[in-house]
Each structure stands twice: as structure tokens, then as C-alpha cells.
Amino acid sequence: MRPLTLRRLLWTCGALTAVLLACIVLALKLGAVPISVTDLVWNLGRIAIGRGDQLPTEYRLIVFDLRLPRILLGILVGAALSVSGASFQALLRNPLADPFVLGVSSGAALGSILALIVAPQIALITPLGAFLGAIATIAAVYFLGRREGQLDSTTLLLGGIISASFLSAIIMFLMTTLAGRDLRGMVFWLMGDLSTPVPAGLRWIFTAGLLVGIGAIYTTAADLNLLLTGEREAIHLGVDVTRVKLVVYVSASLLTALAVSASGAIGYVGLLVPHAIRLLFGSDYRLLIPASALGGAIAIVLADTLARTVVAPTELPVGAMTAMAGAPVFIYLLRRGIR
């Protein structure tokens, strides 16, 4: 018997936070203009004592105006996608579920594009459209995946993949007929890209939405453990299944929508990260959710650093990096059998 203790929870999250901090330093350092770690620590120290204005302008621009916001965005997006993936895996009782594979990311992308076309002047319209798109898609995929009242694993995944390609086709159609914008930017966004920062006015709303979403899901962590053994079992053990499902579906869709509206459809993070965390720390959702949030942040920060540096001075979309790592893992998991 090895029940989860508060001590283990805190130690694991602490260790992952330390890894994340190391990754942040690495990501600040690496890039088209390399910066030494001693310099970084020195300058961070200067800012800490309130003398940040003495930094050279070029340095400030690269580190604090370009790299840091991008890293912070990556942290939020990675945490959101991983937690949302872990949640879908519990609700659908399917280890291959992920907002990208299920088509939820594409739904959110289409939603935000439609919202931009219909009412571009309203401030929060992209995340709102993305949210509606995400929740409509997960509802559709859920009903596509049902067979004789039972959730069928294969049908569900097929439903998700078909929805994703259908929605992408509509997005392509809209982009080529309506958008006068540059197509490369849109393609980058669709593949998942962190180079466009969230507008300064929306940053706090964005962060708050993510924290609320992750927090809401975390309150159901113990229930999700039981849902994994089966819905009927969960009911008999006192879980209010309807409430838990509602909370988690809505929150996971919100997380996906916020991530997609900020950075496009970054794939496979929600699949890759929770799975790696399970291998390392076990499948208890009370630990899996915070650990996945931190792990997702680490994964995206690393992936984006790679995306910025491997073909420097040009960049790859970060979604290309996660797909290169994620697709083989998906196939491995699929072949190993769904259980």
C-alpha cells in the first residue's frame, strides 16, 4: 500500500518546479543572441534590488521584452494543454485522449477564427469563440464515440480524428477565401506558435482563466481517480458523476480554448506529458494534475527553445516540435494496446 501523502505531493511538485526554473534560465540564455548564465543571474539580481533601469537597452529588449514573455506564455499554454489532456483521459477512460487528437483544439481554432470574422472589434472575442468551438467539438465527439450507450474507445478516437480533419478543412477554406493576411503567419498559428504575445491588456484575464480552470479540475482529482475505475463504481463510491463531468468538461474546454486562442493548436502535449508523468510518478490524479501542469510547462519551454534555435536565425512553429516528439509516442501507445 502506498497512499499519496502531502509530503510526496509537495516534494514531487517542488522538484518539478526546480526543473522548470532551470529550463527557464536555459530558455533565456539560448537563442539567436546567446547570453551567458552569469550575466543573466547578475542582471536578474540587479532587477531584484530595483536597479533594472541600468541594464543596457538591447539586453533588456531581448531578454525581458522578447524571451521572457514568450517563456511565460509557453508555461501557461503547456500547463493548460497537459491538464486538459489528463482530464479528457480520465473522463473518456482513454489514455490516448488529448485536446488535439480529439479535435477540440481544431474546434477552438475554428471558433476563434469565426469570432474574429464576425466581431473583430470586441476585446475578448477570440478566447470566447475558441471556448464555444471547443465545447461544441467535445460534445460532438463524445456523441460520435458512443455505441449502444457505451463509450467505445476506437470509435471515439476515430470520431476525434475525423472531426479534427473536417474542422481543419473549414479553417483552410475560410483562410484562403477570406483572409487577406499572410498565409505563413496563419499556418504557423495553426501548427501552434508562441511568437505572437498575448496583448498586454488580456494577460491577467488569460492567466486567471487558466488558474481557475486548473483549480476547478483539481478539486475533482479524487473523483477522477474513481471515474477511471468506471462510472458505475464511482457512483457507488459516492461520486456525484454528473457534477464532476460537467465541471471537468467545461474546465478542460476552457483550458484548451485559452491555450489555442493564444498560441494555436499545439499538438500532443496533452498526450505526451501526462503519460510521462504517469510513468515517473504513478497515475494518481491528485498528483498527476499538478505534476502534469508543471511537466507541460517544462515540455513547452524546452520545445519552444528548440524551435527557436535549431534552424536559427529562422524559427519553427513549436507545434512542429511537439508533433515530431508526440506522434511516435501516440503510435507506440496505440500499438501497445489501449489498456
Binding site: M1, P3, T5, A222, L237, G238, R286
Partner: protein
């Protein structure tokens, strides 16, 4: 096997009369149910009015062939569905009106094993039984762990605590699932075809264990089964269902009548009375046809 055969038994010994007041746990009174595809269409399956009682320390078997309404009756008792008419009460409270948390503190349900998506240690699995007593994250308290260990010991599976569920045999898994039910500290334990995947030795062992646990923990046990022989040997009362109708309720000796059982189970049977006053059921092959 009958506990009442023990004259030195301590307080509150079971009486033979089913009407022994005060210790009545479960009261099913004229409960019925109907399934329909939609509210307006005619019901596709109905369970007619069914009445029986289960007292603490008693084992009641719900007996019948497939599609006789056993599972529906079990769902009614567990409170996951509300009866169309009549009442299902546990210690005077209607089970379908309890909130999910309270219900899980009072009623434990053991289903045929369900597939696990992720492997768990048997001990941690048993700790799930403490879920209805915890709040928020439900980190296991010392009490919870002691209760889970005790539950595992009660089913003779203390040594399995550190093994993953996946590597257990069918009988071991069944015991661990039963231990999780015990960890809920229920007043009523419901089991749905618990002997389905067990060989005969494990079946007898399970039923003997259920009897003993009911005795030790003073709860009532209701078992859904189609195993005529096991019900005859271990049940205090049998509820016989056929095509959604409750045909007979009573001790096995009263319910097990040859013509009745032959009609319900559509098989040629022989019924005789065993030494302990319990009926014995044997299959009788139709020899006039060719035997292969």
C-alpha cells in the same frame, strides 16, 4: 452453515421468522420499475411489484435466469434508480433519496470485475472505499489506512496489499474488490453475480466468507445470482424472479419446488431436501433424446 444452529450465539441472534423487528436493515415494499425508450413509448421491460426484507446478518439471494429483472432490482435497492411505485428503504430511509455521499456510506455495491485503465496497488484500490468519508483531496488518514488494512485482512488478502490489481488471479481480485466494499463500512452489501468468473472452490469460499462477514460486521447481504445450488446452500431467503415478476419469496426450502424451478429455468431439475433442511438441486438430462 445456518448461524441460528449455534445455540451459544451472542446478542441479537437471528430468528427464523423474517419479521423479527428492530434489526431490519432493508425493506423492499411493493417496489416496481419500468424501462422505456422514451417517456411516451411503451415500456420495454417492467419489474412487477416486489417485496422482501433483509435483516442485519442475513444473506438474501435474488435468483432468476438471465433477463428476469435481477439487475433492475439490484439497481432499485442500491438507490441509483427510484421505484415507479412502492418503496425501498434502508433503516427507514428511502435509498433513492439519499445523496450520493450518504448512500455510499451505507450501501456498498460489488459488480463483476471491471477493467482497470491504469494499474493500481491492491491496497490503494481498497482505500477508494474511504472516498465517501473524505473531503477534497482525500489524502488517506491513519484511520483510513487502518480500516483498509483491516478490510483486506478480513477477506484474507492482507498479503496482497502491495501487489498491482492486474497481476491478481480472478479469486484474489474478487476478494480485493470485496475488501473495498468493507472499507466503506456499509450497512448493506449488494453483490451482482459475484461468482461468475470463479471456479467452484472459489465460489464456495466467497459465499462462506460473505456469511461470516455479515455475521461479524452486522450488515445485510443481497446477492444477485443464477446459481441455484449456491443460493440453496447459503441464502437465508430467496427472491425468485422470472420475466420481471417476483414469483416467490421465502427460505430456500419453501421456494425450491421442482415444477416452479423447472418452469423458471427451463431445464429439467431434481429437487431433494438435504440434511440441514436445505434443498439440493440436480440437473436431470433428457435421456430420451440422443445424448452427445
Amino acid at each position: 452453515m445456518s448461524a441460528s444452529g449455534n445455540p451459544t450465539q451472542a446478542l441479537g441472534s437471528r430468528e427464523e421468522s423474517p419479521k423479527s423487528a428492530g434489526t431490519e436493515r432493508l425493506n423492499v415494499e411493493q417496489a416496481s420499475f419500468a424501462y422505456a425508450a422514451s417517456e411516451r413509448s411503451a415500456p420495454t421491460f417492467t419489474l412487477g411489484a416486489t417485496s422482501f426484507q433483509a435483516h442485519e446478518r442475513e444473506l438474501v439471494a435474488i435468483l432468476g435466469p438471465n433477463a428476469s429483472g435481477k439487475s433492475t432490482l439490484l439497481r432499485l435497492i442500491s438507490g441509483t434508480i427510484a421505484p415507479l411505485s412502492g418503496r425501498v428503504e434502508l433503516d427507514g430511509q428511502e435509498t433513492s433519496r439519499l445523496d450520493s455521499r450518504t448512500r455510499a456510506q451505507h450501501i456498498a455495491v460489488v459488480h463483476q470485475e471491471s477493467p482497470m485503465v491504469y494499474p493500481a496497488l491492491a491496497g490503494d484500490f481498497v482505500l477508494q472505499g474511504r472516498h465517501p468519508y473524505g473531503r477534497a483531496l482525500r489524502l488517506a488518514s491513519k484511520d483510513d489506512i487502518a480500516i483498509a488494512r483491516n478490510a483486506l485482512a478480513q477477506v484474507g488478502a492482507g498479503h496482497l496489499a502491495g501487489r498491482t490489481i492486474g497481476e491478481l488471479s480472478g479469486g484474489e481480485k474478487q476478494r480485493v474488490i470485496l475488501a473495498r466494499a468493507l472499507a466503506q463500512q456499509p450497512r448493506l452489501v449488494l453483490l451482482d453475480e459475484p461468482t461468475l468468473h470463479l471456479d467452484i472452490g472459489a465460489q464456495v469460499e466467497l459465499l462462506e466468507r460473505l456469511r461470516r462477514l455479515a455475521e461479524e460486521n452486522r450488515y445485510a447481504v443481497v446477492v444477485v445470482t443464477h446459481e441455484l445450488a449456491l443460493a440453496a446452500e447459503f441464502a437465508d431467503h430467496v427472491v425468485l424472479l422470472h420475466h420481471g415478476r417476483c414469483l416467490r419469496v421465502g427460505p430456500p426450502a419453501a421456494v425450491y419446488q421442482r415444477e416452479l424451478l423447472e418452469q423458471v429455468f427451463e431445464a429439467p431439475l431434481e429437487v431433494e431436501l438435504g440434511p440441514a433442511g436445505r434443498p439440493r438441486v440436480n440437473l436431470r438430462a433428457r435421456r430420451s433424446e440422443d445424448a452427445t
